[in-house]
Symmetry: C2
Subunit: 382 residues, 2 copies
């Protein structure tokens, strides 16, 4: 039975592909000779090309942020809660561009793509990307689309780091920057969790040092473990307690190693499902980009000096129960922006969902984003 | 070169073994036909047999809590900071008994032991132990040692849960109960972390469904991952930041999947070292005992009703930066004890080390334990 598409949904969407033949020099010193980016757009670019918003995705995200891919598609895009007609990112007003990052596994050039130099899949030889590399590739897509300046660049988590990098590297090319549930750099604990996930993948015998495609297999167990672990860090202690508590699957303890508790079978299911659909080399790359992100590093650790480059207005937002990137981490960004005398609005949203909260249509949060975007169109082009 | 043993150290110690031929019925419905317990003792049992203290170990602990095993032994027992002449648990005053729990891999009967019924190692067929089973086995050791009543039962983390279980199941057999850095039951998040660790082990191809001994191998990668993950939860975010920050191993980012950051190589080292010395089936068992611990379950979830059984005095202690078993979890125990009108002292110790703090000789903490134990001898036998 075909789905019924709600009135506030962007409806059926199709990805588009942009091919780039000019080499992209990368932070690592390597470069991509050619590449393609897959993206979706929602809404209409206005005549002045002044209503475009770029959405940057997080660790396991992709370009499919809103709408449905077919009338049989049961699940809309990952940020459908916030993108659509009348929603926080209102497609009646804005032209929204959502991109799959390089190194991804959903259509943009990445480890699963063929390396033109060898004719084989890149696999583990795909260059490790830095956030600045993604931003550079996104800027080229903006050129291609004729967008000189974004009304805003918006992202949560790793996406927020991309938004922040935009404000530093292309200060004239955005009017607003929304950095949601992010951090100016990962803590040792953040890196440690990423490292366990990576070790789970690379120690899986089916990883074959990243050449698992040639062995017609994939490190399914490693990816499952990585996702289970990641998932714990996306949820708050309280939301897990609320959702699962100590509920038993069969009403009793089994005294074996089957899943006794609901939370165990939930995590196993999430992990297995993810391992079916995601590429391990991409997962490794994305976690490294997170670990490496530290824009202040080029300024002797002085984030305010780094952000002095920026010309846009900022919205920074955090969630009370997020322990992956706790409100204090967002406040580091806010304080640096204030020291750099930038215009910044900050709100810690009271929300039980932990890090995942940024994906939910929480009233206060939706109003915050909507209000910030509206405020950017109130003045003229800066 | 032989070590120099400090004056406040218990010195050279030797484990002792007690063999039990009477079957031990278990919470699971199964039973152990016969078993042995390995233990160490420090100090001297007084004539009245009233100065004995039982130390219960945590997840990866064992009976070797203090002193050195030889003059070449570089590392003292795991709680040497707190056990010794003049230390918090003063071996000039007390007779300390430290036991390796059943299911362990350090000498007490466990998965690596021979099953008398088959003549082969128990492996995965070793029964899953509940905390109450351990306590029962410890009570039998007390009988064997002629200790009718412990001056105190003391433990941190999973050890604290055993101490609490003693107060419920054998109320007349202890005068004091010290529950350190514990919780009355695991949260969904706690269980979730344990489940990821278990899945890391059981999904390792070298696990062979627990029969890895017969294959002359062990699930080394799974154990390594389990330990890396566990280790993150033992440390506080702040202590990891303090210890490692974002320090780079080679002073630069490598843009490959070697360890870039110090915290990565530290965790890998910890994980590999652990996987050399610990048994995977034991690790699985111990995490299940943690997950299953929930003494209030027999009382419709009413912890105060459960603790109404107790006759001893309590010390409950938590650490400010412990997020594995946060101070709030200790406070649940304290509140239930107060509702049950029991004598309880509680202190949240301000300490940066996270959950691991219970292993450190923190002044305030050392004084707290020492003071509690001294107060127990102030009155007569109750």
């Amino acid at each position: 039975m075909p789905i019924e598409i709600p009135a506030d949904n962007v409806g059926l969407v199709s990805p588009q592909i942009a091919q780039f033949d000019e080499a992209l020099p990368l932070r690592s010193g390597r470069s991509l000779a050619e590449y393609q980016l897959v993206y979706e757009t929602y809404g209409t670019l206005n005549a002045g090309r002044s209503n475009a918003i770029l959405i940057c995705h997080a660790l396991s995200g992709n370009h499919h942020a809103a709408g449905y891919l077919s009338m049989e598609d049961r699940k809309p895009g990952w940020w459908d809660a916030c993108i659509g007609p009348g929603k926080a990112i209102d497609t009646n007003k804005y032209f929204v561009v959502s991109i799959n990052n390089l190194g991804g596994c959903h259509g943009s050039t990445g480890p699963t793509s063929l390396d033109p130099a060898t004719g084989r899949r890149y696999g583990p030889d795909f260059p490790i990307m830095a956030v600045r590399d993604w931003v550079k590739s996104q800027a080229r897509l903006a050129d291609r689309l004729g967008i000189e300046q974004w009304l805003a660049v918006v992202g949560g988590s790793l996406g927020g780091m991309q938004a922040l990098r935009w404000s530093i590297d292309y200060p004239e090319r955005l009017r607003g920057c929304a950095v949601i549930a992010a951090a100016p750099k990962l803590s040792a604990q953040n890196i440690a969790f990423n490292e366990v996930a990576r070790q789970a993948i690379v120690s899986d015998p089916d990883f074959h040092e990243g050449h698992y495609y040639e062995h017609n297999t994939k490190p399914r167990r490693g990816l499952m473990l990585a996702r289970m672990l990641g998932h714990i860090t996306y949820l708050s202690d309280g939301s897990m307690r609320e959702k699962f508590g100590r509920d038993l699957r069969t009403g009793k303890l089994n005294f074996n190693f089957d899943a006794d508790f609901e939370v165990e079978s939930y995590l196993r299911y999430q992990g297995e499902n993810f391992s079916d659909h995601f590429d391990a080399n991409t997962y490794l790359l994305m976690t490294k980009a997170l670990d490496y992100f530290d824009p202040a590093r080029d300024f002797d650790g002085d984030l305010a000096a780094c952000l002095a480059q920026a010309r846009c207005r900022f919205l920074v937002s955090s969630f009370s129960t997020d322990w992956r990137f706790a409100p204090e981490r967002s406040e580091e960004i806010v304080k640096a922006l204030m020291r750099a005398r930038k215009a910044v609005s900050y709100l810690e949203i009271d929300a039980p969902q932990g890090h995942d909260a940024f994906l939910f249509p929480i009233d206060e949060y939706v109003r915050l984003i909507g209000g910030f975007l509206a405020s950017l169109t109130a003045g003229g082009k800066h």
